[in-house]
């Protein structure tokens, strides 16, 4: 188990290998530095631009409370919010009471996406805190989350009446976020009838 090479005949070769080995940390570091440089200047909370204006990606997912029922993107209908939540996400507990209020005010339809969770834990979360969702998709492997560009939880997507993703909000939703950020964008494609729609939403 000695670290020093004893055998003189292969000394040169092992010396070379040794030097390569000692270069390894430097190479790994350079690779990481390049990677970090590419991350600079990009806003990690920004929605991948190719998704804006696109329809909801296609999926086949079971519902959180009915593992036997599978639904697809066709069964969602905007204008709506898709709220990404998980029982492991601390901020989701903070956000949830406002989602309950929002749902009770009937201002908007909210779909839930239970992201990378265990089914029993997700169910417990909703049972404990209340259910503001029209339906809850269960995304245990995070596949749908990847397709939608989910970065973490909580996140909320705004879907307009044409079932297009128009906005992605990272972080919790509260009254301020709903009134100033989400609601204006949800109805932005209907400038002409904007007053009508927001009027309805306010009721």
């Amino acid at each position: 188990m000695s670290e020093s090479g004893q055998d003189n005949s292969s000394q040169n070769k092992s010396d070379q290998n040794r030097q390569l080995l000692f270069l390894l940390p430097l190479l790994l570091f350079v690779a990481m530095a390049v990677l970090l440089a590419t991350g600079l200047g990009k806003d990690p909370t920004e929605l991948d631009s190719q998704l804006i204006g696109k329809s909801i990606p296609g999926f086949q997912k079971t519902l959180l409370f009915s593992p036997n029922k599978t639904i697809s993107e066709k069964e969602l209908q905007g204008p709506a919010l898709i709220n990404v939540f998980a029982s492991w996400c601390p901020a989701c507990y903070t956000e949830h009471p406002y989602l309950m209020q929002l749902a009770q005010s009937k201002a908007v339809k909210i779909y839930g996406l239970n992201y990378k969770d265990k089914r029993d834990k997700g169910q417990k979360f909703v049972n404990d805190l209340g259910n503001p969702y029209d339906l809850i998709l269960f995304d245990d492997n995070g596949r749908l989350g990847i397709d939608m560009g989910v970065y973490g939880a909580p996140e909320t997507f705004v879907i307009n009446s044409d079932n297009q993703i128009v906005y992605r909000h990272v972080g919790i939703v509260n009254l301020d976020v709903w009134q100033n950020i989400l609601r204006p964008r949800m109805f932005a494609n209907q400038e002409g009838s904007a007053s009508k729609s927001t009027g309805q939403a306010a009721k």
């Binding site: 188990m1 020093s4 507990y93 805190l129 990272v170």
Partner: protein
């Protein structure tokens, strides 16, 4: 006036740091010794000016000088004085100043306490530390100056400190953590000095060890304090979230732990020399990386400071220069370091090697998980993140064998150890650990198989580490004193520190395993005057009252907790609204003792009723997390006080004394 003095002090600090970095190196290269010895006075001067700048900033907060932009955006007249001082490091600029202040304090300590070092080594170490200081002072002065003024029109009042930070935790968590972060710069500087000299030996390891132990101690306590703060301040009862910034502080801690062990092997046996220097470089590089991740805006996190690409670019360049140059030096010089020692397959050296490998792999896995959003983005996989399930799985699977080794480490001898001896010394402990593990797994109520397995492994490891370490401690004590009980604290501080740290670790594991498996958490709707039973405790929601705080208004809940008809605790959770920002904060009401925490946090009021959404948790053994961490910290402190680190060694100008090297084993 005061902010201008601070600004000027920073500039002087930078000038002295430059002198401390450049002049000694020139002096050494040109053999002009009088130039080289300037390192020490420059370091002392640098400390003086950076300290002055820090005091100026703290004073600006104390005096409510809102013409200073940084004060205006992080303080407020109605903020209590203690938080105003704490607000000094509540934002990006001030926390960087704290970083440099800590760095210059460590530098001062090295300059004053390193008389036993060869002058050449001491000079090189100070020069490297000077370089790090230069990098950060330039960063502060040119991209993040905390003394920038809002003139001529400045606000009458400030926009207040982030309410999340208005907490006693803010006053000591960042300083402790930064002491740890920055402390690893000393080990880093020693590693570079050794590589420059081309000499890494027992003596070198003995110099570095106490500095590393000190940094490790601060970091352990700093991370624990942060975890405790998150636990009671976020109102959710969790204490670790695998948030990028938590990971950023955890990775250097893991590498620092590896470094502590490999340094021990280098000191005692002269092995792992190159690896030890690499670890010292890596530990500090991860500290710099953490700084980058928090301040560049490449990742989202609850801790992240305001996002500014210029700052990100600067830190990345500085990181590249510092780490890149160190690793080039390592590649050139490290390969020349020869090791002439040997060890057997079963020996403490081997255990330390496995320890180091596991810690390095865990660090890399956490790094990959943390950077995963950037990696995925780089390969156009979209922005994804792995989340806690990944970290928990990887971490548990890799750490279990490591903790198993913590039981063996103190027993197995350096160089070689007999298998038969090992079996003889561990068979009873093994039996006890298995029995306890099985009992725990079987007796736990309605758990699924994987939970029982985790409980078994957890209980097994806790008993294993505790029994083996305590028995070993006892045996050593018995050699010191006829009454082993009296001998327990007369063994050498190095060993005493080790037992404290290992036992502390076992207690932390105990807290982790049992609090996560036995906690009862109820989120429910509770009306005033109603009672809810949770885990044998009756929580009576007596009333709510309004509270007026210095800069917030709060609704306070009054909960009386009874067990078997007796009052055991009165809890006062609060919902606070801070006046300036209008933000709501949750203050949990917690009653803690060693066996369990009773935890109540209030959610929203349910409209048109007298009911509230309430979170009631009964969490057993959470206190063990903090208790164990404190024991680990004490362990680091004890190890540091070992007399042999302060023994005078007759040395002149870096000429090595081979007798010292070969004599120590």
């Amino acid at each position: 006036m005061i902010p201008e003095i601070g600004n000027l002090a920073l500039a002087f600090g930078l000038a002295l740091a430059l002198i401390q970095f450049v002049v000694p190196l020139v002096g050494i290269a040109t053999h002009r010794w009088r130039l080289a010895i300037i390192a020490k006075p420059a370091a002392i001067g640098q400390f003086f000016f950076v300290c002055l700048a820090f005091v100026c900033l703290a004073y600006s907060f104390y005096a409510n000088d809102f013409s200073v932009a940084y004060v205006a955006s992080n303080s407020n007249r109605s903020l209590p004085v203690a938080y105003r001082i704490g607000a000094t490091w509540g934002g990006h600029e001030g926390s960087l100043l704290l970083w440099v202040f800590m760095l210059s304090s460590w530098t001062l300590a090295v300059a004053l306490l390193s008389k036993s070092l060869p002058a050449l080594t001491r000079t090189r170490v100070l020069s490297v530390l000077g370089f790090v200081s230069v990098g950060f002072l330039i960063f502060i002065l040119f991209t993040s100056n905390p003394f920038d003024r809002l003139l001529p029109v400045f606000p009458v009042d400030g926009s207040d400190l982030n309410p999340l930070l208005q907490d006693p935790g803010m006053v000591f968590h960042p300083p402790l953590l930064y002491m740890g972060y920055v402390g690893f710069s000393v080990a880093f500087a020693f590693a570079l000095a050794a590589l420059l000299e081309g000499r890494i030996d027992t003596l070198w390891a003995r110099w570095v060890r106490p500095w590393t132990q000190a940094a490790w101690m601060f970091m352990t306590l700093g991370i624990a304090a942060g975890s405790w703060w998150a636990y009671y301040e976020l109102g959710w009862g969790g204490w670790w979230f695998w948030d990028p910034v938590e990971n950023a502080s955890f990775m250097p801690w893991l590498l620092g732990t590896a470094l502590l062990h490999s340094l021990a092997a280098t000191e005692k046996r002269g092995v792992f020399k190159a690896w030890t220097t690499l670890l010292a470089i890596a530990a500090f590089s991860f500290c710099l990386l953490g700084t980058f991740l928090v301040r560049s805006g490449v990742l989202t996190s609850v801790h992240a400071f305001a996002n500014d690409p210029v700052r990100g670019t600067y830190i990345l360049v500085f990181l590249g220069v510092t780490v890149g140059a160190s690793l080039i030096l390592f590649a050139v010089r490290g390969s020349k370091v020869s090791v002439t020692s040997w060890y057997n397959l079963l020996s403490r050296e081997l255990l330390f090697l496995i320890n180091n490998l596991i810690l390095a792999v865990v660090t890399i896995m956490i790094l990959l998980g943390t950077l995963q959003p950037i990696i995925a983005d780089f390969f156009n996989l979209g922005k994804v993140s792995v989340g806690p399930p990944y970290f928990n799985t990887v971490f548990n699977i890799l750490m279990a064998p490591l903790i198993f080794l913590v039981g063996l480490g103190p027993i197995v001898n350096w160089r070689k150890y007999e298998y038969s001896e090992l079996v003889k010394r561990t068979r009873l402990s093994l039996l006890a650990s298995i029995v306890v593990g099985l009992l725990v797994a079987v007796l736990a109520d309605d758990k699924i198989f994987t939970d029982r397995l985790q409980l078994f492994v957890g209980a097994f490891l806790i008993v294993w580490v505790l029994v083996l370490n305590i028995v070993d401690w006892w045996k050593k004590a018995a050699k010191k004193n006829r009454n082993p009980l009296l001998g327990l604290f007369s063994i050498s501080p190095s060993f005493l520190g080790m037992y404290f740290a290992h036992i502390g670790l076992a207690i932390v594991v105990f807290g982790v395993v049992f609090s996560s498996h036995l906690s009862i958490e109820k989120n429910l709707r509770l009306g005033i005057g109603q009672t809810q039973e949770v885990a044998g405790y009756e929580f009576y929601f007596e009333k709510i009252s309004d509270v007026v705080g210095p800069n917030y208004d709060a609704i306070r809940g009054h909960f009386i907790v009874k067990q078997d008809g007796e009052n055991v605790a009165i809890l006062h959770p609060e919902k606070r609204q801070y006046r300036v920002s209008g933000q709501w904060m949750t203050e949990a009401g917690i009653d803690a003792n060693l066996a369990r925490d009773l935890y109540v946090a209030m959610g929203e009021k349910i409209p048109e009723s007298n009911d509230w959404a309430v979170r009631i948790y009964v969490k057993p053994f959470v206190s063990c997390l903090w208790l164990g961490s404190i024991l680990m910290g004490i362990g680091g402190l004890l190890a540091m006080t070992d007399k042999r680190y302060r023994a005078k060694v007759k040395q002149k100008l870096g000429i090595s004394d081979d007798a010292v090297v070969s004599g120590a084993a």
